[in-house]
């Protein structure tokens, strides 16, 4: 045998020694299974209504109307719409008519009756970005009132000849977009608030030779509560469009979760869907399509990640008498840090996303047994 053969044999032996690993539960009896994750329920320490600015400027719809809800009280919504004329469009012949076309996509209230709105000119430019629903804007003279059924698929409003004549110069102006300031839609009669889809609102200008279509450039909704709600005992009303939120606080230093390893989390918020479903005949009370959970710090600000995302964020839809927020990885990491004693966020806030403008109500329970509860899957620390 040559020496090189000897070293080859040695190398082969070493390779044989580094076999593949195949770990298994053999020996678990010597360790115990104390580490299997468990679920822990952590009810909110406190549940309280908070106010914030509800922004409706250029959201997906504009609301108008008044609803007298036997459960949530009376709410009046006033809508504002402005229009823009495209740079190439010109009115160069006689205007024979002007019509507003607005497709409803939301109704809250009595669907069997009719709704009457007052159409006012807006005398000056009005803000929409960052404006809350409690803002008051001064409207101009009444143009006309119009009545429609809430279930109509398209509401058409022909503007009076006097109004057309008064605005003839404005329509022919190259500065239409800056000299015309749109309309206010104020509730007059009826028992419903109707929402009109922003992207489909049109103003059509009929001339002798042509028809010009103007699209809506901005919308805004202001909401006023005119009568307080009549809630059953032990309930808390959270309603979209009013700048409301609910602050939840949890004790992450409770023995059951402190310094535990977090795997998964769900926030469950029971809601009184029975009360919400009880309505008079023909009355609809749509629930909010989306509810958002967000983490806020002691100053009320929303901490964000380096990518600008809130460090606690989840959304859900009311279903089966509850809101169920499933937390994603960023939120889980934040919760884990809270369980380790950090105070990145002080509260969890329930609120409504501002991109979907509704008046949807939610009834939360205030009784301790039905409070919002975090369900946490954790591995207890083995200290």
């Amino acid at each position: 045998m040559r020496r090189s053969s000897v070293w080859s044999c040695c190398a082969l032996l070493l390779l044989l020694a580094t076999g593949c690993d195949d770990p298994s539960a053999v020996g678990i009896g010597l360790i115990g299974e104390e580490g299997l994750p468990v679920t822990v329920r952590l009810p909110a320490d406190s549940v309280q209504i908070t106010s914030q600015k509800d922004r409706t400027g250029n959201t997906s719809r504009v609301l108008a109307g008044r609803v007298v809800d036997p459960l949530t009280g009376t709410l009046a919504a006033t809508g504002y719409v402005d229009f823009v004329m495209s740079g190439t469009a010109r009115v160069d012949t006689t205007i024979v008519g002007v019509r507003l076309e607005m497709p409803p996509d939301y109704v809250y209230g009595d669907t069997l009756g009719s709704v009457t709105l007052a159409l006012h000119d807006m005398p000056e430019d009005w803000p929409y970005a960052g404006v809350g629903t409690d803002t008051t804007l001064t409207a101009g003279p009444l143009v006309r009132t119009f009545t429609f059924a809430p279930t109509d698929t398209l509401v058409q409003v022909d503007l009076p000849a006097a109004w057309i004549a008064a605005h003839d110069t404005t329509f022919r102006s190259r500065t239409f977009s800056t000299s015309f300031h749109g309309f206010q839609f104020a509730p007059t009669e009826g028992n419903a608030v109707v929402g009109f889809r922003f992207s489909d609102i049109r103003m059509r200008v009929f001339t002798v030779t042509d028809t010009l279509t103007l699209t809506a450039s901005k919308v805004l909704t202001t909401v006023a509560r005119e009568q307080a709600p009549a809630l059953p005992e032990g309930r808390l009303l959270l309603q979209d469009g009013l700048g409301q939120g609910v602050l939840l606080r949890f004790n992450f230093m409770a023995d059951s979760v402190r310094e535990a390893g977090l795997h998964a989390a769900v926030l469950e918020v029971p809601i009184d869907s029975v009360q919400l479903k009880q309505t008079p005949v023909g009355f609809v009370r749509p629930l909010p399509a989306t509810v958002r959970l967000i983490g806020v710090n002691a100053e009320g600000n929303v901490p964000v990640t380096s990518l600008g995302e809130p460090i606690v964020l989840a959304t859900t839809t009311p279903e089966d008498g509850r809101l169920r927020f499933r937390l994603g990885s960023t939120s889980l990491q934040t919760l884990q840090r809270l369980m380790l004693g950090e105070t990145l966020v002080q509260y969890f806030r329930l609120e409504f996303p501002t991109d979907d403008n509704t008046l949807g109500p939610l009834l939360l329970y205030t009784a301790p047994t039905l409070r919002p509860t975090l369900i946490l899957m954790v591995t207890p620390p083995s200290l």
């Binding site: 020694a17 770990p23 539960a25 053999v26 020996g27 678990i28 795997h263 998964a264 884990q336 369900i375």
Partner: protein, 442 residues
């Protein structure tokens, strides 16, 4: 030896030294019994003795630094450096017949020694393991979580990493043709870490992590450090006409010592760990260690060693708890006893002109050990192993390459325990060269 060759061998040692710890971290799995106490107790005396049962308190050899007795360090001629890597493959089986196969590789020991005065005073330095915790037990559970509306596959890995190392430095002194003494300082230090990693998978799609689930890693790290002293005696009784023939008896005593311990609990991955709970500090009292051995050498061809080690771990005390030891409760620690015997046959003896295969040393050994901690009360953990090895000469006198094999069994499947069957392959490079020569002018 010419210097380039010496540098090549030193380079090999360095590569082994740097590469093996990485390999150990990637695998690092062994017996579940290393979860107990401070980890599995490891002995390493030299690559020669590794193949001869693992101990040789009464053996002196010019080709190896014998770490089991500093008195043998007096008998040195060459400056020596050596490194040993060990690969282990382990198969564990329980009473139900379930098995686990685990493999690992690690740098085992590094030694350096030189004579201050040839065959009179010698210095030795070594870095070698004292204990090692390296296990991996994996459980898989299909977990229904009604509160979350999920069913997930929960995988938990219980693992141990690290262990205690010892840094030895000492000298051996020739007092009399029949008597040498030695003294050595042992710095014992290291980190023992036990981890629990929990992960989740889709039960229907293996390997797919379900959304909304986050893994966790809990770790308990205990850092320990302390110093002890070891004294050794070596008594030589010549029996034949050749100077090397004879019986030698060795005795060593390592003093009890106190390791300062700091324990930290963490949650999270390696670079993003959060400390949980409070850091705990305390003393860990290691017991003394006594070893007695006898060797017999004849004609530079035959070497026989018989050894016994005793460590009274039943007197172990600690402010911190370890698996099998609770300062305020259960104590499963027992006195450790290790008996070993080994044989070496070198056909060529000192005839360097003999054929190559006659210059290979053939070694065989056996050892029996009762571990210092019992996994269950009234159940001792015993290991029985056979060792063997070949020592290959090189072109450079004084330099050898050793390949060792150890096959053993540990534990029992009774009482919900497991039986380990393992084999270890050790590869050692022993480099010897004459240094510190005084230049002479005619």
């Amino acid at each position: 030896m010419n210097m380039p060759a010496f540098h090549r061998l030193l380079g090999l040692l360095l590569v082994l030294g740097m590469a093996m710890p990485v390999a150990a971290q990637q695998t690092g799995e062994g017996s579940v019994y290393s979860r107990f106490g401070l980890g599995s107790r490891l002995d390493y005396a030299s690559s020669q003795l590794q193949a001869m049962g693992g101990s040789g308190v009464g053996l002196f050899n010019l080709n190896y630094l014998n770490l089991s007795n500093p008195a043998t360090w007096s008998d040195q001629v060459l400056t020596r450096a050596s490194g040993t890597v060990v690969f282990q493959q382990l198969r564990a089986i329980d009473a139900s017949g379930n098995t686990a196969s685990l493999g690992s590789g690690a740098l085992h020991a590094v030694q350096f020694s030189f004579p201050l005065r040839a065959r009179r005073i010698g210095i030795g330095l070594a870095f070698r393991p004292y204990t090692r915790a390296n296990y991996l037990v994996r459980t898989e559970t299909r977990q229904i979580v009604p509160e979350l509306g999920d069913t997930v596959q929960t995988r938990i890995d219980y693992a141990g990493e690290g262990g205690l190392q010892q840094l030895n430095a000492g000298l051996g002194l020739y007092l009399h043709p029949r008597l040498s003494v030695g003294i050595r300082a042992d710095l014992i230090f290291g980190i023992i870490e036990h981890t629990q990693r929990t992960r989740f998978f889709d039960p229907e799609l293996p390997g797919v992590i379900p959304s909304g689930y986050m893994p966790t890693l809990f770790a308990t790290s205990t850092r320990l450090a302390g110093v002890r002293a070891t004294v050794g005696l070596l008594l030589r009784l010549p029996t034949g006409t050749q100077g090397s023939d004879g019986v030698a008896m060795g005795l060593t005593l390592s003093t009890p010592t106190v390791l300062r311990a700091t324990r930290v609990y963490t949650l999270g991955e390696s670079l993003d760990r959060d400390t949980v709970g409070t850091t705990r500090r305390g003393d860990v009292h290691l017991p003394l260690s006594v070893a007695l051995g006898v060797s017999y050498q004849q004609d530079n061809r035959w070497t026989l060693v018989v050894d016994g080690h005793y460590e009274p771990w039943s007197r172990f005390r600690s402010d911190l708890d370890f698996a099998g030891y609770d300062p305020n409760g259960e104590n499963l620690f027992k006195d450790r006893l290790r008996l070993s015997a080994g044989l070496e046959y070198l056909p060529a003896g000192t005839d360097y002109s003999a054929p190559y295969f006659h210059q290979i040393a053939y070694r065989l050994g056996v050892f029996w050990e009762q571990a210092y901690v019992a996994p269950r009360s009234n159940v001792s953990l015993r290991t029985l192993a056979l060792t063997g090895g070949l020592s290959f000469p090189t072109l450079f006198p004084g330099t050898r390459l050793d390949l060792n094999l150890e096959v053993g069994t540990r534990g029992t499947t009774a009482r919900n325990l497991v039986r380990d069957t393992y084999y270890r392959i050790g590869l050692s490079v022993n480099v010897g060269e004459r240094w510190f020569l005084q230049r002479r002018f005619n």
